[in-house]
Subunit: 334 residues, 2 copies
């Protein structure tokens, strides 16, 4: 497994290394037609494959960006990643994806390794625990974009859902169907994860706008494995909610599990709306009404913005917060 280098090609083709280099980079401005062919032939013969590591070292650019998602289990993450990859493909950039697993420690490790690997920029779904690190990246002028979550007091471009609008879409739909006892269930709210906080506040505002009183026992933020108990408590209380808004896909799955276990009829006994699309939303019976995020646009926007920064086309314009609008997809569960 001895690698063939540019020098080998040069020797075999009786030219110098720099000529080969020029050929590879398609800078054959003044190169002899015959020389070109000779080089091409020997490249094929020797099965030469350029060494990007060496190139990156020299050029101080890896043509690679890093993406750190907070939790890859959300379909939201996977869809945004797809969009990012598409944009990068088109621009001949590569993507390294890391999953922080909702763990700031892991996130830190990944940020450091991506820096060590000299990626040209990063898109991160911040876990909320590494503000100092983000800050030092920013101070170095390192291209960086946040997605899904916002970090306060840092002028870094962020792509966010209009979470309050998302909650409002759901609540208003519940209300239009005549429901008044409406609950919201999200995953844990420690570390002030943006979407969860905002969705709850949007829910409250929407209720108030409809003149429905807010009941604290209808608002729960729990770790995934506590949701089962939380639901039991909520649904078997004296005045159980008639409708639940699930804060994200995993939460909705937990609710569906509970519903299946307790043979609760949807939507007759309990109406359901989730935020985030689900692979089986259409297949499930009843099919599931959900609030959909424009995941593709979000990923695309994040990637294009980042690449602009990487290519120094956009240096100013720091700290923009881009809010994208959700849409309600009405199906049978409410």
């Amino acid at each position: 497994m001895k690698r063939v280098t540019i020098a080998d090609v040069a020797n075999h083709a009786n030219v110098s290394k720099s000529t080969v280099s020029q050929y590879i980079n398609k800078r054959y401005d003044y190169m002899g037609e015959e020389t070109k062919e000779r080089i091409e032939k020997t490249i094929k013969e020797l099965e030469y494959s350029p060494n990007m590591v060496a190139k990156s070292l020299k050029q101080k650019s890896t043509l690679t960006i890093g993406v750190i998602v907070a939790n890859i289990l959300h379909v939201f993450s996977t869809q945004v990643i797809r969009a990012i990859e598409d944009v990068c493909q088109e621009n001949d950039f590569h993507v390294i994806v890391c999953n922080a697993d909702d763990n700031p420690e892991k996130e830190k490790k990944y940020i450091e390794m991506l820096r060590a690997k000299q990626v040209d920029g990063m898109i991160v779904f911040p876990t909320g625990g590494n503000k100092d690190l983000y800050e030092s990246l920013f101070n170095e002028g390192y291209p960086l974009i946040f997605v899904d979550r916002f970090v306060e007091n840092l002028p870094i471009d962020s792509i966010l859902l209009d979470n309050e609008a998302a909650a409002k879409l759901a609540v208003d739909h519940f209300v239009s169907k005549g429901y008044e006892r409406i609950a919201i269930l999200t995953t844990s709210i420690i570390r002030n994860i943006t979407p969860r906080v905002e969705r709850i506040s949007g829910y409250k505002k929407a209720l108030q706008a409809s003149g429905i009183p807010i009941r604290e026992e209808y608002i729960k933020s729990l770790d995934l494995n506590e949701i089962h108990n939380g639901l039991k408590e909520m649904l078997f209380a004296e005045h159980p909610p008639q409708a639940i808004l699930a804060g994200n896909d995993l939460t909705l799955m937990q609710i569906l599990n509970f519903v299946q276990e307790h043979k609760i009829q949807i939507p007759k006994e309990l109406a359901l709306i989730g935020i985030d699309e689900l692979s089986f939303a259409n297949i499930y019976s009843p099919s599931l009404t959900i609030v959909s995020q424009p995941t593709f646009e979000m990923g695309e926007m994040a990637a294009s913005l980042l690449l602009k920064k990487v290519k120094k086309e956009d240096t100013k314009n720091e700290g923009c917060i881009h809010r994208l609008q959700p849409t309600l997809v009405i199906r049978e569960s409410c």
Copy 2:
């Protein structure tokens, strides 16, 4: 954004580069306690972060492997990837994941890019279209492992499901429930994709073993978007099957779509078994009986084997085919 290098650290700490290098690599056999502290301090001060690109160039090792999956939309792929990543984490290796999208052209592009990036080894779910490329990798002694699919006449270690056993588990379960008109539906079979071919042959063998005649009209291999029509044809025929075995998760989803659309009752009107676990198999009603692959073991095995080759602990032993056993998870759909 000027990077701080090992030389900067050396200057500020009044030592030579090599001393710093040794410190970083924890080779402080004979290093002065005081020197160590001085280096550590200046590293912190300057926020020095090592440049892995330079290190990789020197060491001819990137501590990174590449994974190319045929199609990332299968849960199978994502689960195997998770397991691979776990093993690599433990060994301080990084993983670059690429999705060939069932397209040999894309696969080729990715193989070339991973080589250019000097990854230390590759795990690929071969699309079946780049035999010459695999061969040249092999000839160079490039560490390589195949997963899910087998490539003939190439002595490369492969991790495969015992696909015939998987089909047999399903067929035997159908038979034990009294079904005789049993169909199998897989995605397209051009390019002889191993699991599809083997699952069909396993299906045939199992039927024969039970003394049930094989009917060609019960065997369909179609592109995903043709499944709808194929099902219509099959289920609205004179003697429609009473049971269908879905060759993979995406096929099963298509069937469920059809079933929902036509209000077909499961399992009363049609019994269903799928190969591959599904996120909602438990939640769906009726819950779905499936044949489960040991995805975690497969990924783990692939990664450990590859790392052994990378670390030259395993040089012989080429061309082993590891067959892992599936298990039947009985739920309500049959």
